[in-house]
C-alpha cells in the first residue's frame, strides 16, 4: 500500500521536501513507516520515535496504517 508522508520545519529542510509517497506492506504500522522513511537516502537523521499524526490527529507509533493515510511527522511544536 501507499501512504503519504508529510514533513515540517527542520524535518522538511532535512528531506528537501514536505511530502512524499511511501510504499509499505499491507499490515504496516506507523513505526514501520518511520523505519522505512529513515532508510531512504539522506533521511537517517530523522528521529526514530517521532511524534506523529495520522490523518491530522495525533497517533501512536503502533497505529495500523491503511492505504492513502496521511502520516505527518511532528517536530517539537513552537506556536504562540
Amino acid at each position: 500500500m501507499t501512504v503519504t508522508i508529510l514533513l515540517f520545519a527542520n524535518h522538511r529542510e532535512l528531506a528537501s521536501t514536505g511530502s512524499l509517497d511511501l510504499e509499505l506492506p499491507a499490515d504496516a504500522t506507523v513505526r514501520e513507516a518511520v523505519r522505512r522513511l529513515r532508510s531512504l537516502p539522506g533521511l537517517a537523521s530523522l528521529p526514530a520515535e517521532p511524534t506523529v499524526a495520522v490523518n491530522r490527529e495525533y497517533a501512536s507509533l503502533d497505529r495500523d496504517l491503511k492505504p492513502g493515510d496521511e502520516v505527518a511527522l511532528i517536530p517539537a511544536v513552537a506556536g504562540g
Binding site: F8, A53, E57, Y58, V77, A78, G79, G80
Partner: protein, 151 residues
C-alpha cells in the same frame, strides 16, 4: 481557514491564517450579559535568550492546526461557562510587534474568562502543529525548539 460553531451556549471561533490579526474586531465579542472580556495577544519580541531577533517565520500544518485548535476550544467551552471564545494564530512572516496569537473570551464573570484564556494559550503551545523560525540580526535563521511556559 476559520472554524465557527456553538458549544453549549458558547460561540466558538478558531482560525489559523496568514492574515494580520485585528484586535479591534475581536473586541466586539459577547453581549451586554458579559461583564468580562479578556484579550490575550502574543507579540513578536525583539530578543530570545539574549539574542536580538529581527522577525519570525511561522510554518503550520494548517489542516491539522485548525482541527486541533477547534478541539482545544471545544474542550474549553465545555469546561467553563463562557459566551464567546475565539482564538486566532498567524502563519507566515511576522515583523517585531506584530500579533502572532490572540485569544478573546467573553463571560459573565472575570475569573472564568481569565482561566479559560490561560488554558487556551497553554494548550496552543503544547499541541498546535505550528513551528517558528527566528531570524537574527546577523542573518542567521534557527527553528525555535522551546515550548516552556514563558516562551
Amino acid at each position: 481557514m476559520t472554524t465557527a460553531l456553538e458549544v453549549g451556549g458558547t460561540r466558538v471561533i478558531g482560525q489559523v491564517s496568514a492574515d494580520p490579526i485585528r484586535i479591534d474586531d475581536l473586541l466586539r465579542a459577547g453581549s451586554m450579559a458579559d461583564g468580562a472580556v479578556t484579550v490575550f495577544a502574543g507579540r513578536v519580541r525583539d530578543h530570545n535568550h539574549g539574542r536580538p531577533v529581527l522577525r519570525l517565520h511561522y510554518e503550520a500544518y494548517e489542516e491539522m492546526a485548525e482541527r486541533e485548535l477547534a478541539s482545544i476550544l471545544d474542550e474549553t467551552a465545555n469546561r467553563w461557562t463562557l459566551s464567546h471564545l475565539e482564538a486566532v494564530h498567524r502563519t507566515g512572516t511576522l515583523e517585531l510587534g506584530e500579533i502572532s496569537v490572540a485569544i478573546v473570551v467573553a463571560a459573565p464573570h472575570r475569573a472564568t474568562a481569565y482561566e479559560a484564556s490561560r488554558h487556551v494559550i497553554e494548550e496552543i503551545k503544547k499541541r498546535l502543529p505550528i513551528w517558528k523560525r527566528e531570524e537574527y540580526a546577523d542573518g542567521q535563521l534557527e527553528w525555535v525548539r522551546s515550548t516552556s511556559p514563558d516562551a
